[in-house]
């Protein structure tokens, strides 16, 4: 029998523990804790919508018997605009257009850290009047602004494993699919051609590239030691541990994050937690100097990371830079 996933994944659950912080010679207690409730939740009038997605790969809406407005999802049984005239369920199309340009989440909530970056937007499916909220992906790699905009045609894709929830579907731009795929009903994720992450390769370094690399490395090492010595900056990487292999055109190095300590060494790492690659090491130096976010370098494809989940670490590096800059500024201001 297949072991089913838990409603709360194991890794989210902290140990029973506590710690003490001291502020102005007084001790204060912090306790690990949780507030949790389990449900066996009735999908009620939405059952037909979720069952149609799960079992038939169809999308349902509801149509007011008086004004004819077609609402997707079918969020009500009677139309409030028509003195509660009844609505009827009907099937709508699986292609639609974006109601507006969708946002892209880079810094996600703790439950979506492993899914970022992702888009979420509203699609008006063929035959519908209202918009359905959907997760949005591109088959071409990381979703960046400009790929999906207002009026972009998108296609509903069904997950291979469906549980009867809104997560069973998502959308991709129709332009990334073949004409047959666009017209096919119930198209599944495994039928798409997903681009695999490929580590960038750089041309052989010139003497100048190597000199630039050496200079950047030196400056980054100085910054790293300042960060390790800054009370505020240390907070950005408190409790965090990562060994990162960094590849640039001029040479490779290693970044070590270890519970407040930040170190950079000229060394090739054998088994890093993840790999960062950027042709110009100045991209990273700028980020650490708080002259442009490292996050944005990833979005702009100037910096490549081997695991999307490590966006969390990228955010921490950005915070490290900001916290050091802020500490210097606040010392000046006070």
């Amino acid at each position: 029998m297949i072991k089913k996933a838990k409603v709360i994944p194991e890794e989210y659950i902290p140990e029973v523990n506590s710690r003490t912080v001291t502020i102005e010679d007084k001790n204060y207690l912090l306790q690990n804790d949780a507030m949790f409730t389990f449900y066996e939740r009735a999908a009620g009038e939405f059952s037909a919508f979720f069952l149609a997605i799960r079992d038939e790969k169809r999308i349902l809406g509801c149509k007011c018997t008086k004004c004819g407005l077609v609402r997707v999802p079918p969020m009500l049984t009677h139309c409030p605009d028509c003195d509660f005239a009844p609505t009827e369920l009907l099937e709508v199309g699986q292609v639609g257009r974006m109601l507006s340009t969708p946002p892209i989440t880079y810094f996600a909530t703790s439950m979506f850290l492993d899914k970022a970056p992702f888009g979420r937007g509203r699609v008006v499916l063929e035959g519908a009047d209202t918009a359905l909220s959907v997760m949005l992906y591109t088959t071409t790699g990381i979703l960046v602004p400009g790929i999906i905009r207002k009026d972009t045609e998108v296609k509903v894709i069904f997950r291979d494993e469906r549980v009867g929830a809104v997560t069973d579907i998502f959308c991709v731009p129709a332009s990334e699919l073949s004409p047959d795929q666009v017209t096919k009903k119930g198209l599944q994720e495994s039928e798409l051609n997903w681009a695999a992450p490929v580590e960038p390769q750089y041309p052989k370094a010139s003497d100048k590239d190597i000199a630039v690399y050496k200079q950047c490395l030196k400056e980054m090492q100085i910054l790293a030691s300042e960060m390790s010595g800054s009370k505020r900056a240390r907070k950005a990487i408190e409790g965090w541990k990562r060994d990162i292999a960094v590849k640039t055109k001029g040479g490779d190095f290693a970044m070590y994050i270890d519970d407040g300590d930040f170190r950079i060494e000229e060394k090739k790492l054998g088994s890093p937690d993840f790999v960062m690659a950027c042709e110009d090491p100045g991209t990273l130096l700028d980020g650490l100097q708080y002259k442009g976010a490292i996050t944005d370098s990833v979005i702009a494809r100037k910096l490549w990371i081997s695991k999307n989940m490590e966006f969390t670490t990228i955010f921490k590096l950005d915070r490290l830079a900001r916290f050091l800059a802020r500490e210097k500024k606040e010392q000046g201001a006070k």
Binding site: T167, E238, G239
Partner: protein, 403 residues
């Protein structure tokens, strides 16, 4: 459509706030609530025994880790055996709490009330990333539509970003990054004079704002409010009581002359939420203006304490409330309206981006700041604004006037 208002006159006679901090290790929300109450009573120079009832603004049960978080406060703040009601309306909790208390007094039910907003937002902690913020925003994300949106990554930021992008689709030349950066920088300068601001000494340049990282496209880190912990309180009273309290305290009454609220559809598309607009803020402002007799807000209002969850939303909301035309919200900066020497003081407290967003307390902190500005600078009128729920669904506006 408009209903003539027939209630009693209501005024603010006392106000206070605790410092807003990223985390209060030293105090629980019980103590923060009492702290703000003690200070507000002191400000009004009355006894807690003179207060008839309390309205609590506490947004999120999960933050406080109790499903009726106000219940321990009743005794702790000295209000045992008196009426107490809790209001929770998402980000707009504070403004709605003020409106509820206002209605109790205007109706003649009570003469003097305490309006107490409190939130302990950053006890939440994510042990996988070893930081608070992802868990804080997850806690807020439990506020999204539980069938169709929570499970696909709905968050407060992404739902406001949707509205902002829909506006930008309609008005591509507005909300320019250089302008949002200038506004954020300006607010950071203003926070310098608010001793209770979480980021009192975090003055940023427009360049730093432009360079800050994307959180949710198109929103950057220094364009977004920061979650904070704190409490704010107001003492409000009917006309005769207010006048006698003011005589004793030596501080003029600041009258609440207009109140308006509106909640839109939470879904989008034909005949649903007004997409590309923040119509809830427009409707709330129109109702409040009508009640206060305001015809031209830019000429008649001197200070605005707006709920700036995001700089771009601040700009759109200012347009929706009639201070600049829709599509030309950048006039706030380009015409100098909210810049030093401009017609309007906008968020002298630093707003929620620099003073901090202690959700249930935020709009009450804004009212505290607007009241201080009106009294200390002898201004005529102020506007306090609140926004909340998915896609800026809720809006609330209060008009404050010098005696």
């Amino acid at each position: 459509m408009a209903k003539k208002f027939t209630g009693r006159k209501v005024g603010i006679v006392g106000a206070a706030s605790t410092p807003f901090k990223a985390k209060w290790y030293e105090k629980t929300y019980y103590e923060l609530g009492q702290m703000a109450t003690r200070e507000a009573i002191k400000d009004a120079a009355i006894s807690i025994k003179d207060v008839d009832a309390v309205a609590y603004g506490i947004y999120n049960d999960i933050f406080e880790r109790s499903a009726i978080p106000e219940h321990p406060l009743q005794g702790i703040i000295g209000m045992a055996n008196k009426p107490g009601i809790r209001v929770t309306n998402g980000g707009a909790t504070g403004i709605y709490t003020l409106a509820a208390a206002y209605a109790f007094i205007a109706s003649g039910m009570h003469d003097t009330m305490l309006v107490l907003g409190v939130e302990k937002a950053t006890d939440c902690f994510d042990f996988t990333s070893m930081s608070a913020t992802p868990e804080v925003i997850k806690t807020i994300a439990w506020s999204g539509d539980c069938w169709f949106e929570q499970k696909i990554g709905w968050s407060a930021s992404d739902s406001y970003a949707e509205v902002i992008l829909a506006y930008m689709d309609e008005h591509p030349g507005d909300l320019k990054p250089e302008v949002t950066a200038q506004i954020s920088s300006q607010l950071s300068m203003q926070a310098r004079s608010n001793p209770y601001a979480q980021r009192q000494f975090d003055q940023v340049t427009p360049e730093e704002v432009m360079n800050s990282r994307y959180i949710v496209y198109p929103l950057k880190e220094l364009e977004i409010c920061v979650y904070t912990e704190g409490a704010s309180a107001l003492i409000i009273a009917e006309e005769e009581t207010a006048k006698s309290i003011a005589q004793n305290s030596g501080k003029p009454v600041v009258w609440i002359t207009g109140i308006g609220e509106a909640n839109e559809w939470s879904y989008a598309g034909k005949n649903q939420n007004h997409w590309g607009r923040i119509y809830s803020h427009h409707m709330a402002a129109q109702k409040a203006y009508e009640m206060a007799g305001i015809k031209n807000p830019l000429e008649e209002i001197d200070v605005v304490e707006i709920h700036d969850a995001f700089i771009q939303q601040l700009e759109i909301s200012m347009a929706e409330m009639g201070f600049v035309p829709l599509g030309r919200a950048d006039d706030l900066v380009e015409e100098g309206i909210m810049m030093p020497g401009g017609k309007l003081s906008v968020n002298p407290s630093g707003g929620l981006i620099y003073s901090g967003h202690a959700v249930g307390a935020s709009n009450i902190m804004s009212a505290w700041s607007a009241r201080n500005e009106i009294i200390n600078k002898g201004l005529r009128r102020g506007l306090v604004h609140g926004t909340g729920s998915t896609i800026c669904q809720y809006g609330g506006v209060a008009i404050l006037e010098h005696d």
